[in-house]
Symmetry: C2
Subunit: 210 residues, 2 copies
């Protein structure tokens, strides 16, 4: 339990994250992780007694946590800053990978595999929840009501994640640029409505809630 685990184990997790981003959960095979990380085959069950399942789970956790921490940190600077930082993060991923890499959490969420797939899906849910919550706090700090902030935070995460998928498909940054610009307008609009205390009519009536 010391910290003699350094290179090999960490490299394997990072490689698993890469594969997860580029080719989805099903593509995170032991061979793929080994060839990427250069780790020796004999190290697999030494570092990960749970085998592939454990590697995949840890990769998801690692990647989701890193992004969550990032959002939470910059959220104190306000929603606009958080949105900008979130966007910059994905643009770097997209650019550095030449549009072959996307969001690892989305990858897990859309491949509801069999057995441990349910457990992974649950973790994906928690990670998304954490991202939304950090963004929501940033929006509350900007003066929005809790309910509006929650709705808008979901909008930010959903639209950026969707844009990342579109950017991969189109192999350019246009969708993310478009979404960020519209989100900026939307945040301003919500702030305006909040300042002027105009409880505009909403389309939905808060039914269908969980």
């Amino acid at each position: 339990m010391g910290r003699d685990r350094r290179d090999t184990r960490r490299d394997m997790v990072l490689s698993a994250v890469e594969v997860l981003r580029e080719r989805g959960a099903d593509a995170v095979t032991l061979d793929a992780v080994l060839s990427r990380s250069g780790a020796p085959r004999g190290s697999i069950y030494h570092h990960f007694p749970g085998g592939r399942s454990e590697i995949l789970s840890e990769a998801l956790e690692f990647a989701g946590d890193a992004i969550a921490v990032r959002i939470e940190r910059v959220a104190e600077a306000g929603a606009t800053a958080a949105l900008r930082d979130f966007s910059v993060f994905w643009k770097k991923i997209l650019h550095d990978s030449d549009y072959t890499a996307g969001c690892p959490v989305v990858s897990v969420a859309v491949s509801n595999a069999d057995e441990d797939g349910a457990q992974l899906a649950g973790r994906a849910r928690d990670i998304f929840e954490r991202w939304c919550d950090a963004m929501r706090r940033a929006l509350v700090g900007d003066g929005l009501t809790p309910r509006t902030a929650e709705r808008l935070a979901t909008m930010v995460i959903a639209s950026v994640e969707g844009a990342v998928v579109l950017c991969r498909a189109r192999r350019n940054m246009a969708p993310l640029d478009d979404v960020v610009e519209e989100l900026g307008l939307l945040i301003d609009a919500e702030k305006f409505l909040a300042r002027n205390k105009h409880p505009r009519q909403r389309a939905s009536t808060d039914k269908d809630r969980s």
Copy 2:
């Protein structure tokens, strides 16, 4: 080339679409398609000489085309109607599958597999493009400028697609409800800006375009 292909072949494609929605592209195995459709094993290479690759390709095409036609049809009734219809479509998919099914095009886009994966990714791009274009025309019909309409159309597709992913993860409709409501506000805001001819300052300067 007649039309004696009826049950078996079509059933296989429909089953492939289901698997694609629920478990991603890699999960579209011949066994999965056969067990779902009930088709006989010997029919595979009779109906699909290209094997698995051909089945997957046709499933993507079939699903993407159906949605494109749907958007294009309702787009004539305006952007708000198109958004509502698009949302209703996904809510039905989510509800009927108990949140186990999502967008088949996203599934393909995030699993950039090796060989024919590149070809599939190209098809996914075309399908997204077609969806965005139909939504863009609806927005132009509502009085928005071409550039604003294009940006907002991308926003609609991206945010709804992202919301579908979040709905699957959370197993409820809240993300989609939130996104649709915010999109309604955004469409109204853009219409207002267009009507009042206020060329507001934009954050981006149209660089980084493809």
